[in-house]
Amino acid sequence: MQGGRAVRARDGETLEDVMSRILIVDDSRYQRQLVHTALAVLGGQIQEAADGAQAVRLFQEALCAGVPFDLVVMDILMPTMDGHRALSWMRRMEEQAGTPLRTKVIMLSSLDDPHNMLKAQFEEGAAAYLTKPFDPADMRDALRALELVDNPLDGGLCATF
């Protein structure tokens, strides 16, 4: 849990209730393992999917069970359903379910062209976009920016200036 947010269950909650729920989506088992390692700092429950369709199913199950994912890290180029379509489906499900907060999504792809980066972040609401091969330090920076791990900029922000 070093660097991760302190997790403390309140009355009526188990520790499992408040831990981060993470979904890693990539058709490469090796890439999933790399992401898994980079996300170890979060210390949450990690599930994996090998394509977009499987990811959408897991996302829907979690949403219906009332335990949506806190973070999805997803590739774009995958068989059956690509990351763009999968994320669009996830956003539609959230809208239909009326969830107040959208799941934070980091797109992680070898595609580094303006079209894919813009589409993911402006049309589908991905919070960050990393290109492969990724530097674990960049993943850490992204987790900080998404307020999933402690950020040195927290506290005293206004007073700094």
């Binding site: 580094d112 972040q121 402006f122 530097d135 040195p152 922000l157």
Partner: protein
């Protein structure tokens, strides 16, 4: 950040305003705050050398005629990318190993300016692509401004999303943007 600076007395600290930027040879902590504006962070790991700008508008040709104006080069995203890349080339930076990251481009903070952020980000992606530079990470869009801190000698970037407009820490980038654009 104050504690950080206190523990690193050799570190220079710079607060980047709209339409400012540069390449920093000495270890420097660069801070800036972004709304619809865009910052691109450049880092050469081999030289421990960093560059950054804070630009307001997407393309210089849409606002200024003639040759690029050195006085306004960091006002426009495309001209700012050109300026930082030129400065890095002068320092013999290997551009093929350069790490570039794009931040900012928030949309819904300012009424009537929802598309400006997206246009700024697109201009950054296109300008970097024109120089065959790869974007390793980006954190753009959304409806919240961002505070960004960049350590030029390590390449580390700290980003914090700001509270929505209306909160006590609100920053009226809209007025700054209009002033810097000379409108």
């Amino acid at each position: 950040m104050r504690n950080f600076l206190a523990s690193h007395p050799d570190l220079k600290s710079v607060y980047l305003l709209v339409a400012q930027g540069g390449v920093y040879e000495r270890p420097t902590l660069v801070q800036t705050v972004l709304g619809s504006c865009v910052s691109v962070v450049f880092f050469s790991r081999r030289q421990s050398l960093g560059g950054i700008f804070h630009a307001l508008l997407p393309r210089s040709a849409d606002y200024e005629k003639g040759l690029p104006n050195p006085a306004t080069r960091f006002r426009y995203v495309d001209a700012a990318v050109d300026a930082v890349v030129a400065a890095l080339v002068r320092r013999k930076t290997d551009l093929s190993a350069l790490e570039c990251k794009v931040f900012g481009g928030a949309g819904a903070m300012f009424q009537g300016e929802t598309a400006v952020g997206q246009k700024n980000v697109l201009a950054a992606y296109e300008a970097l692509s024109r120089h065959q530079l790869r974007v390793t990470a980006s954190h753009v869009g959304g409806d919240r401004g961002r505070k960004l801190v960049f350590l030029t000698h390590t390449g580390e970037v700290f980003v914090k999303s700001l509270r929505p407009a209306g909160a006590s820490c609100r920053i009226d980038i809209g007025d700054d943007a209009r002033a810097a654009a000379g409108k």
